[in-house]
């Protein structure tokens, strides 16, 4: 599965977020937050730096609060594995405006590149399908990423899960702000809410 043609994670995230329009984006801690920041910082991004397992579920809460907007969560395999039960909760909740993208390098990249469950063969896309996601796909090339990008702007019958296989590598970090209150306030301001 991890061939020499495996995707570069940053290239994949940049391609996914190209012409993102009004997408609201939440990124999971570690490399996914760096990837999303590198693709372009905007007030419509909320970057997690901790709370491992939170990203997809924050996406659910946001998608339920704003059914008029499409919500995209970009996280890693380790982060999603910690929140595996969250896939069940999201599938049952059936939001039509939520897409979870797992950037899957098969490793815990921030802590010394130890192999993760997906690195040992666990297939997150099949778990998503078994939970009842409306669409749950394994993506291994840029054409697949481009096809996924087209879907992000469309309403679906239910939540979508795209697992994008990438090379395991530590790229130069692109650091978003770490002040979570700042990130919260600018995100809410972006949606027209005043700072309390």
């Amino acid at each position: 599965m991890m061939t020499s043609q495996a995707l570069d994670r940053r290239e994949a995230v940049i391609a996914l977020l190209k012409d993102r329009g009004s997408l609201l984006v939440i990124s999971g801690l570690g490399s996914p937050s760096f990837d999303v920041h590198r693709a372009g910082d905007t007030d419509a991004n909320y970057y997690l730096w901790g709370a491992m397992g939170a990203a997809a579920l924050m996406g659910l809460g946001l998608a339920q609060a704003r059914p008029d907007r499409n919500v995209l969560v970009i996280t890693g395999d380790g982060e999603q594995l910690m929140g595996l039960g969250g896939l069940a909760t999201i599938a049952i909740a059936k939001p039509k405006n939520l897409t979870i993208v797992v950037i899957d390098n098969g490793h815990f990249g921030e802590t010394g590149m130890q192999k993760s469950h997906t690195g040992f063969g666990l297939d997150l896309a099949r778990i998503g399908a078994a939970c009842g996601f409306a669409e749950s796909l394994l993506i291994e090339d840029l054409a697949g990423v481009e096809a996924a990008r087209a879907q992000l702007q469309q309403a679906a019958d239910g939540p979508r899960l795209y697992v994008i296989k990438v090379k395991a590598e530590n790229l130069p970090r692109s650091l978003p702000p770490r002040d979570a209150i700042h990130l919260k306030n600018r995100f809410r301001s972006h949606l027209g809410m005043p700072v309390s």
């Binding site: 609201l24 939440i26 909320y46 997690l48 901790g50 709370a51 491992m52 397992g53 939170a54 990203a55 579920l57 924050m58 996406g59 659910l60 809460g61 946001l62 998608a63 339920q64 609060a65 704003r66 907007r69 929140g83 039960g85 969250g86 069940a88 909760t89 049952i92 909740a93 979570a180 209150i181 990130l183 919260k184 995100f187 809410r188 949606l191 809410m193 309390s196």
Partner: protein, 182 residues
């Protein structure tokens, strides 16, 4: 198999009125999202919120999911409440970093087990640890021992949470909920 000590009760216990009052307080506080891990003490409230077309309900696989869902809802401008029993508090601790460091409003309604006429010893350790653990991670706890106080406390907790951006757990005492019937 252990002897649970009693035969089924001949009459089902009369449903208490406080869940209806709590639901009304949540409505008047404009809470529109509810996440829960079921608990017998919350059963009536869970029925009420699920029957309410103006509330979005999420059943969770584990309590900490609700901390993240509430945070996402607040990002989008929606008020959320999280229902659990005391055994679920321990599951939430690291996830409460999110509410704490982001100063996300958080209202948790926690039914206590393991502290009053409890028959199951497994409920006791997390019951004892709930309040200190919540306080250690920065969540303020407000305890309700009587039904008439509970309504006032939930209303005040909602104001503290949603208006003052605080993280609040209302601990609903097992004495208030009453003995679990088997």
């Amino acid at each position: 198999m252990n002897d649970v000590g009693s035969s089924p009760t001949p009459n089902a216990p009369v449903a208490p009125s406080w869940p209806l009052e709590v639901w009304r307080v949540l409505k008047s506080s404009n809470v529109r999202q509810v996440s829960y891990v079921p608990d017998a003490g919350h059963a009536t409230l869970i029925e009420l919120v699920n029957a309410d077309p103006d509330m979005v309900c999420n059943v969770l696989t584990t309590e900490e999911e609700g901390i993240a869902i509430a945070a996402g809802a607040w990002l989008g401008g929606m008020r959320s409440v999280l229902l659990m029993q005391s055994s679920g508090v321990g599951n939430c601790i690291n996830m409460l970093s999110l509410a704490n460091i982001s100063r996300f409003p958080l209202l948790m309604l926690v039914t206590m087990r393991g502290e009053w006429a409890e028959f199951n010893p497994w409920q006791v350790p997390m019951s004892r640890a709930s309040e200190p653990a919540l306080q250690a991670i920065g969540v303020r706890t407000l305890r309700a021992d009587k039904a008439e106080d509970l309504i006032d406390i939930v209303g005040c907790a909602a104001t503290l949470a949603y208006e003052a951006d605080q993280q609040i757990a209302v601990l609903i005492s097992q004495r208030l909920i009453g003995k679990k019937h088997w």
